[in-house]
Symmetry: C2
Subunit: 182 residues, 2 copies
C-alpha cells in the first residue's frame, strides 16, 4: 500500500467517525471526503460502498463485544451475563443514529460486509444464550438471532427518543423479562 494511500485511508476513517457520529449512518459521503481533504473518488476507492465504510468504523467494536462475551461466559449467573452483554450492545449501538437499522438489515444478508465482520460477536452471543438456556433461565424457544434483534429494537427506539434514558431502561427491562423462562 502506497504511503499516500495509507495516509488518506486513515484520514477518511477518522473524519467518517466524526461525521457519522454527528449525522448518522446516512451522512453525506461527500462531506466526509471534503473534511478529510480528499477527493470523492478517493473515498469510493477505499470504501466502495457505504457499508464498507461502516464496517471499517465498527470492526473494533465488534471485536470488543466478542471478547466481552467470552469473559462473560465465566460469570456466575448465566442470565445476568447475557443481560449484561445485551445491555452493552444496546448502549453501543446508539453511538451512530441509524446503526441499529443497518445492523438488523445486515443480519439477514450473509454476504454483507457487516454480517461477515460481526461473526465473532454473533458467536459470542450465541454461546451466552445457549448457556442461559441450558441453565433453564431463558425460554427455550429463543433463537440466536432473536436476542440481537431485540437489542437492535431497543436501540432503535432509544435513537428516536434520545433524551429519555428512563424510557430506554423501561423498554430494555420489558424485553429482558420477556426472555426469561417462567
Amino acid at each position: 500500500m502506497r504511503a499516500d494511500a495509507r495516509r488518506n485511508y486513515g484520514r477518511l476513517l477518522a473524519e467518517a467517525g466524526a461525521v457519522v457520529a454527528e449525522q448518522g449512518t446516512d451522512a453525506s459521503l461527500e462531506e466526509v471526503a471534503r473534511r478529510a481533504g480528499v477527493g470523492i473518488g478517493t473515498l469510493y476507492r477505499h470504501f466502495p460502498t457505504r457499508e464498507a465504510l461502516l464496517e471499517a468504523l465498527l470492526r473494533d467494536r465488534f471485536d470488543g463485544l466478542a471478547s466481552y462475551a467470552e469473559d462473560l461466559l465465566g460469570a456466575d449467573d448465566p442470565f445476568d451475563a447475557l443481560v449484561a452483554w445485551l445491555r452493552r450492545i444496546a448502549k453501543g449501538t446508539v453511538a451512530y443514529r441509524g446503526l441499529a437499522q443497518a445492523m438488523m438489515a445486515a443480519l439477514q444478508d450473509e454476504a454483507s460486509d457487516l454480517y461477515v465482520s460481526c461473526h465473532g460477536m454473533r458467536a459470542g452471543g450465541q454461546a451466552l444464550l445457549a448457556r442461559a438456556q441450558k441453565a433453564g433461565e431463558v425460554r427455550p424457544d429463543v433463537r440466536p438471532e432473536d436476542v440481537l434483534y431485540l437489542a437492535g429494537m431497543v436501540a432503535t427506539a432509544t435513537e428516536q427518543v434520545p433524551g429519555d434514558a428512563a424510557l430506554h431502561d423501561r423498554l430494555f427491562t420489558y424485553v429482558i423479562d420477556g426472555l426469561r423462562a417462567r
Copy 2:
C-alpha cells in the same frame, strides 16, 4: 376548494399511497407528482411537508385503531384485549416501510401532524392499558407511551426482515410476555 384543486388532491393522495407502499416513507415526492400527472409545485401546495402527506395517508387507519380500542374495552379479558390491539398496530405499521420509525419520532413531537392526528388512537391505547393494569394483568410501571414504542419496535424489526413471519411472532411474544405482571 376549487374543482381542479379537489381533483388533484385526490389524485396525489391515491398515487402517494401506491408509491409509499412500494418505496417506503421516504419515497420520491417528485415521482408521486409525476404519477399523479401534476406539477411538483402542486404537490407541495397541498402537502407542505412529507409528514403532512403521510398524515393524510394514515388518518383512516388511526381512526380505525381508535374505534377498535373502544370495541375492545368491552372484551372479557383486559390483557388479551390490549394484546389484540397491539398486534393490529404492529401488523398495520408494516404497511409502509419506514413508518414505524416515523411514528416513533412523531410520538415525541407534540406539534407534529402525525402526533396530533393519532390522538384518538393514543387515547384508546391508554384506556386499554389502564384497564389491564387495574385488573393486575400488566405490570404497574408501564407508561402509556411504552406500549406504542414496543409496537413500533416490533414493527421496525419486522420491516427489516420482511420474509420471516415466525421471527415477527416470536419477537412480539417476548415483548408481550415482558409486559405481563408476574
